[in-house]
Point group: C2
Chain length 260, copies 2
């Protein structure tokens, strides 16, 4: 299946015609991480995002109880327009529903958070190879010893990073290019020796898959959208709903529109 | 009086040794707009800022009831470290106290918002002349027909802009330079014909002072930190406290650190 726009893909998901991971589909259009929290946790989460902009670049926040987007997509319905969700209660994963029609509550607030898919397109356009794409696996992700700033009920929690290997020349290019995308994690947080940020074995990522790093390459690390999920799980809100990894929200704006 | 650091200036203000407008003092250090709101208005204001990043670039938000800064300054006390405040009740200015020692409440939340003083230093360093500085007046500011996005109790309200005239060559330079400072309003929102954004008479600003525009110059307009104050006044929170115009909060970080 191919989709010419984010809206086409979103409508296919809503009708349950399409239920695969969204990576590579409608690839010019912005994809986003989803976090849903009850109102009494929403302020602290928004503040956590303000204090940790690199891992939590907020693209849109709903009004209390509202499941329709206003900014990055028109007429999207947060309850039906992703194909797989994760429901956590007190930090425990309890179900993975296909929609939220029966679960949505009047006190829910949704957050859409920028995703590295947006800057990956810019890296590819500049001629860079993304190893996890070449090897057809998930990008490797790691917990680090870099701690996020706390905010109200959200305790301090480790920054999660994604890693892409490049040779020295392309590592510089990758820094330059992603610097122009602060709304989707921006420039890297680290490059080179993984031990400096608390990663002891680059070959055993905490999330996603291992990729090969060639002799002339160094690992380059970006703040990752898994960070707010990890923070929320440590702080154990009574209920939190997210997208299922890889099953992202797809918007109407193009990745290129996020460039500074 | 001269001050080598933001902290020196702040301590002089705290001791009431210094009580003048802060522009031009400790000029390498970041200065910020202050907004204080009760907790039940804080979420909507934070959301308003997220939806209107250009006029409301948030530099720091306090925890509920906390009057000490953690990020842009160490050991600053929001109650005493500005020399003049404005207290508004239901949208009406009711007093202009020298400190907030008797007014601070356990449910207050402070917001420090980026200020164009930060990018003005970068413009001067690049050799550009700032007309309001040459003429020794306040920068001219205008209400526009560009409407801010609403957020909860914060209704839609007009974007307020500041204006600096440049010749065409320097206007381009000014766009380039300020683009690198998204945390202090970033690139301009408009340049050229003021009527397009609803300004009918460039010679009668709504706030600040008129400046001369030479024959070879065009006006360049930036989103302005007066916008959130205007939004709050339209939406009439029961209480809101701000800095008095020109009497800014001064931090420990340098303007240059806000560059992307």
């Amino acid at each position: 299946m191919t989709f010419n726009t984010g809206e086409e893909l979103r409508l296919a998901i809503r009708k349950e015609i399409f239920d695969k991971p969204t990576s590579g589909y409608a690839s010019e259009y912005v994809q986003a991480n989803l976090v849903i929290l009850p109102k009494d946790w929403a302020y602290d989460f928004l503040l956590f995002s303000q204090r940790n902009k690199k891992p939590c670049p907020i693209l849109e926040v709903g009004e209390v109880g509202d499941y329709n987007t206003r900014f990055i997509a028109e007429n999207a319905d947060i309850r039906t327009d992703l194909s797989k969700y994760r429901v956590y209660e007190n930090g425990q994963l309890i179900s993975e529903p296909k929609n939220l029609k029966d679960l949505w509550r009047d006190d829910f607030v949704f957050f859409l958070i920028g995703c590295s898919f947006s800057f990956e397109q810019a890296l590819i356009n500049a001629g860079l190879e993304l190893r996890h794409q070449t090897e057809n696996v998930n990008v490797p992700m790691y917990n680090t010893n870099i701690m996020c700033n706390s905010a109200g009920k959200f305790k301090t929690s480790p920054l999660v990073v994604s890693m892409r290997p490049f040779n020295h020349k392309n590592a510089i290019k990758a820094v330059e290019i992603t610097s122009d995308y602060p709304d989707v994690h921006g420039s890297p947080v680290h490059l080179g020796d993984p031990k400096i940020i608390g990663i002891n074995d680059i070959n055993t990522p905490d999330y996603g898959d291992r990729v090969n790093i060639k002799d002339d390459e160094i690992p380059v690390f970006w703040a990752c959208g898994v960070t707010p999920q990890k923070a929320a799980l440590i702080s154990k809100p009574p209920i939190m709903i997210t997208h299922s990894p890889g099953y992202m929200f797809v918007g109407d704006i193009k990745n290129s529109e996020l460039k500074l």
